[in-house]
């Protein structure tokens, strides 16, 4: 690794005092490069303040072209009806549902990183949570497009909501499809709130560095944040509450998505293993997408000191664990098909692996079960090219998982006369391509206008944010405290008003 030296203060604490305060002190430092608080602010804020680089415009051009394709395809679909897609008897759920589950799954990493890892005091989340949450929001938006337009009559899509109406028509509360509406929309709202609340201190930092209209706009979104102690208190309370609210949602959303399948009586869908298996798959694909994006972003934006190889390695370990869980679920399904002695279930799985869609099944198995096993090797899970390639392979695999589940179970109907082979149409393909356009358009806007790393939180995991002046009262160390304060880098003292924040940066104690 790069410079392994810790911050000077940490060195002082460790070597001279032998002062082991927290077990995680044994871990490599979360922020490398001996950055001061001010340098961290500069490093992140600079990318929202500099002149827009030409490469950004190029990337944005490509992404927004994709977005235009999406708009065109949706307009074409609305004008002509759902028939322009490949969905038909017996495969009534084609690509739109596959893409929906694919995108919702990707949308799981953000809230897992921000909420669950927050509650478990995994402080390495701070460098990646902002971008991961943004990715979550955009992925959920992409996901919502598909069921919205799959209903066919998109202009009456509000029928999915239980709004009193003169038709006396209510959604079917017994249907998991309705639970989906609630699960995904509440997930989106809570994720958005969570993301925004976390942004407020950073927006205030940007505001204090900005002038003119930009400062006004930022001031509006910073909601009058001054960095006062009371603000931090309220902020940390609300952040904790939102983390508590979001945590069950991480598990519930994809469980409910899996109910869309598991509640039915289709062989291959009707299994109780679906909820945990879908949640594991969602985290698997979500982390892969975070990796794909961050491996590139940290390089381009020079954030290697904040998003370090250690962060990436930790994500790779999560990919390895969840990938193995998913693979275990695939094998369990076969075991259950055999053990249950239900011939339809057995047929469904043998047909999956050796039937007309065997190619898709084995792509899924290779990408999701076999390829992440490479991460057992430390060398490979710390290799940027390997993890970048694997993260893409994983998402290809996870798309195929949803394709295999949806299509192979449906194409062999209970009525053999309706058996058929599903093929997508060009509209299916271009709509899916267009959804990536939407995703990357939003993500590029995020990279350009929003601090892509949680500045205040990253400062909070620096050792000097947590000096423990009075932890060991009476053991003689309290006396050393002023010494630490003096050792603060000179730049600290001159820093702008934004660094009022720093002195009370969030601690996790």
């Amino acid at each position: 690794m790069e410079k392994d030296s810790n911050t000077p203060h940490a060195d002082v604490l460790h070597e001279e005092d032998g002062w082991h305060r927290q077990p995680y002190d044994n871990d490599p430092p979360l922020v490398k490069g001996n950055l001061s608080f001010h340098e961290i602010t500069d490093l992140v804020a600079y990318h929202t303040e500099k002149k827009t680089p030409i490469t950004w415009f190029l990337a944005f051009g490509v992404a927004s072209t994709g977005l235009m394709i999406l708009f065109l395809m949706l307009a074409y679909q609305v004008y002509n009806g759902v028939g322009v897609w490949g969905n038909n008897v017996p495969v009534g759920w084609g690509w739109p549902i596959v893409n929906f589950v694919f995108w919702v799954g990707i949308g799981h990493a953000g809230t897992l990183i921000s909420a669950i890892l927050f509650l478990f005091r995994q402080r390495w989340r701070t460098s990646i949570n902002r971008a991961a949450e943004a990715m979550t929001l955009f992925a959920v938006m992409c996901a919502l497009i598909f069921p919205t337009f799959h209903v066919g009559r998109v202009w009456v899509v509000y029928w999915m909501l239980p709004i009193p109406n003169q038709m006396e028509m209510w959604p079917q509360f017994k249907s998991p499809l309705l639970w989906d509406v609630f699960a995904v929309s509440s997930y989106f709202i809570v994720s958005l709130l969570f993301w925004y609340v976390g942004l407020i201190p950073d927006l205030a930092t940007l505001r204090d560095r900005a002038k003119g209209l930009r400062a006004k706009v930022l001031a509006f979104f910073a909601l009058g944040w001054t960095g006062a102690n009371r603000h931090w208190r309220n902020y940390e309370k609300s952040y904790l509450i939102l983390a508590g609210l979001a945590t069950p949602l991480v598990l519930s959303v994809h469980s409910v998505v899996s109910f869309d399948f598991a509640i039915s009586i289709i062989p291959g869908w009707h299994t109780t293993i679906f909820p945990p298996y879908f949640v594991a798959g969602a985290i698997f694909s979500g982390f892969a997408m975070v990796l794909t994006l961050l491996v590139v972003a940290r390089k381009i934006y020079g954030l290697e000191d904040l998003i370090t190889l250690d962060h990436l390695e930790k994500m790779n370990i999560i990919i390895l664990v969840t990938g193995s869980m998913v693979g275990f679920a695939y094998i369990t399904e076969f075991f259950m098909a055999w053990y249950s002695q239900v011939e339809y279930e057995q047929y469904a799985f043998i047909n999956r692996a050796f039937g007309p869609y065997a190619w898709a099944y084995w792509i899924m198995m290779t990408c999701n079960l076999i390829s992440p096993q490479l991460f057992w090797f430390k060398k490979l899970r710390r290799s940027i090219p390997v993890m970048f390639a694997l993260s893409i392979v994983v998402n290809i695999g996870m798309w195929f998982e949803r394709f295999v589940i949806t299509v192979t179970s449906l194409h062999r109907d209970f009525l053999p006369s309706s058996w058929d082979y599903f093929s997508p149409t060009w509209v299916d393909v271009l709509t899916f391509v267009g959804s990536f356009g939407l995703f990357f358009t939003l993500f590029l806007l995020f990279l350009r206008f929003v601090p892509m790393v949680a500045i205040a939180e990253v400062k909070g995991v620096k050792p000097e944010a947590d000096p423990h002046f009075y932890d060991h009262e009476g053991d003689g160390h309290a006396a050393e405290a002023p010494q630490i304060a003096i050792q603060q880098p000179a730049s600290e003292a001159q820093d702008g008003p934004d660094d009022v924040d720093d002195s009370t940066a969030p601690t996790t104690d």
């Binding site: 709004i163 109406n165 003169q166 038709m167 006396e168 028509m169 006004k216 009058g224």
Partner: protein, 215 residues
């Protein structure tokens, strides 16, 4: 950067919460009323190619609905009469009327008159006239006082909620078999008891499950 928000902006969270509640209720009301067929389609009265007057034919001449809509008791559709039905009388009566010119032209050329449909149901809702007429639902109940209409208009919303009102409590709407086509029918005093008795003996069970109409 001085503070953008004045002190009184502290009221904003509470105000926006109130706004959310009021706005939510208002939205629901707006959807409930303005998105409903009661607002959007009741009163729909297109101009027909022939200025045919139901008031003249039904009220003044006393014709029965079934003279023209003769399949209503056996078919899903209460048919719009062909030109031939008009010509049964109009080959003898008002043979030179200018207003009947399109009818005579249709008669001569064999091209049907393109009447404009007034009562639309969505294509995903199936409805049988026969099933209703045979079980004691009067024409008037759904179509209103056609005998008073110079130009036919939609009198009722034909929305699902409106259908269900009767399907849930048919005893409030049924009438005797010989009063089906009567216009301006007045229910006798004890009609609810009579209808309940009929519902029992005739086994009238209007379905309220989805697939009764959506199949």
């Amino acid at each position: 950067m001085p503070q953008l928000f004045p002190k009184k902006a502290n009221a904003l969270p509470l105000l926006s919460l109130g706004g959310l509640v009021v706005g939510g209720v208002l939205t629901i009301f707006l959807v409930w009323y303005y998105f409903s067929p009661e607002f959007t389609v009741v009163g729909y009265a297109p101009t027909q190619p022939v200025p045919y007057s139901h008031r003249l034919h039904v009220d003044q001449l006393g014709m029965d609905c079934r003279y023209c809509h003769n399949w209503v008791e056996v078919s899903n559709h209460a048919n719009v009469p062909p030109t031939q039905t008009c010509m049964n009388c109009h080959s003898q009566i008002r043979t030179q009327s200018l207003r009947l010119l399109p009818v005579r032209e249709s008669w001569a050329t064999g091209e049907p008159i393109e009447w404009i449909k007034v009562h639309h149901l969505p294509d995903y809702a199936h409805f049988s006239h026969a099933a209703h007429v045979k079980n004691g639902v009067g024409c008037e109940t759904c179509h209103g006082r056609v005998d008073q209409m110079e130009v036919v208009y939609q009198a009722e919303p034909l929305s699902m909620g409106w259908c269900l009102e009767c399907h849930r409590q048919p005893e409030l709407y049924l009438r005797p078999h010989d009063e089906i086509t009567t216009m301006g029918y007045v229910q006798p005093a004890d009609f609810v008891e009579r209808n309940l008795e009929r519902i029992r003996t005739e086994g009238i069970q209007p379905p309220t499950n989805c697939s009764a109409c959506h199949y």
